[in-house]
Symmetry: C2
């Protein structure tokens, strides 16, 4: 479906909630579950994944919790999507690793798919968590950034 999974959507919503928590304030899985209306076990699973990939910093033990590992400006949609659902690859053959697609010899579209894949990855890279958690004004900034990066590339 060319779609991000529901869990990824949840995960990014959690990140956005954490991005709006200023001053290094931590939130527990419990806090986030209640704030976002997502079942606690699911929240835990997502936060664990995000922490393992160094997007979140976790503190264990009593008075533990989670906070962003970097500023929201320094975390891109690409980082989050990759963490939550693995490498972004439109097709088998556009993944980084070698693929075992039986059509590879015949179809000849690998490079074209890779090109489209890169375009898409750029869109995600140029959209930060800060923008995702933020306002319409910040969306305009993203648009400008993307536009510039494409010009630079050409």
């Amino acid at each position: 479906m060319v779609r991000v999974t529901k869990l990824t959507d949840y995960g990014i919503a959690l990140m956005a909630r954490l991005a709006n928590e200023h001053g290094g304030n931590q939130l527990t899985a419990q806090d986030l579950s209640e704030a976002m209306g997502i079942p606690l076990p699911t929240v835990r699973k997502l936060l664990k994944t995000l922490a393992r990939d160094d997007l979140l910093e976790s503190t264990r033990g009593a008075a533990g919790g989670y906070k962003l590992a970097r500023t929201a400006e320094e975390i891109s949609m690409m980082d989050m999507v990759t963490s939550l659902e693995g490498p972004v690859a439109m097709t088998e053959c556009s993944a980084d690793r070698d693929c075992d697609c039986s059509l590879q010899e015949i179809c000849g579209m690998k490079e074209n798919w890779s090109f489209i894949n890169e375009q898409f990855k750029n869109t995600l890279k140029n959209f930060s968590l800060a923008q995702m958690a933020g306002s319409l004004a910040e969306k305009q900034a993203a648009r400008d950034t993307l536009s510039q990066s494409l010009e630079a590339e050409t």
Copy 2:
């Protein structure tokens, strides 16, 4: 997985093969199955879908077959992906229709997702079947087109 399904990949490969068939020459499902090494029943299913959405023209009966309904330049990746796997929507809430996402009130990211979704759709709209079936030189054209369209939008 932010991935196009295998069947969509196959479908586009079939379209590319038909794009390289010049002079209104028709190919049968059988021909395409043999040419691409994709099982016949699967090929049939895909061609039916593409024909129903007016990307292919079909002729029934003996000596029947399929050919492109328009030129390869006039068929975009967006047309094909949409036909083969339905509307492109990164999340439930970025589909055109109203969604029943329980987070809608809380997460506040709907507009941001829509924006990313539009960027992605533009990438697909600006890449034609001709480019997909064609050479590296044509890829550069796609890059230019996309870049221009983004500038215009800003």
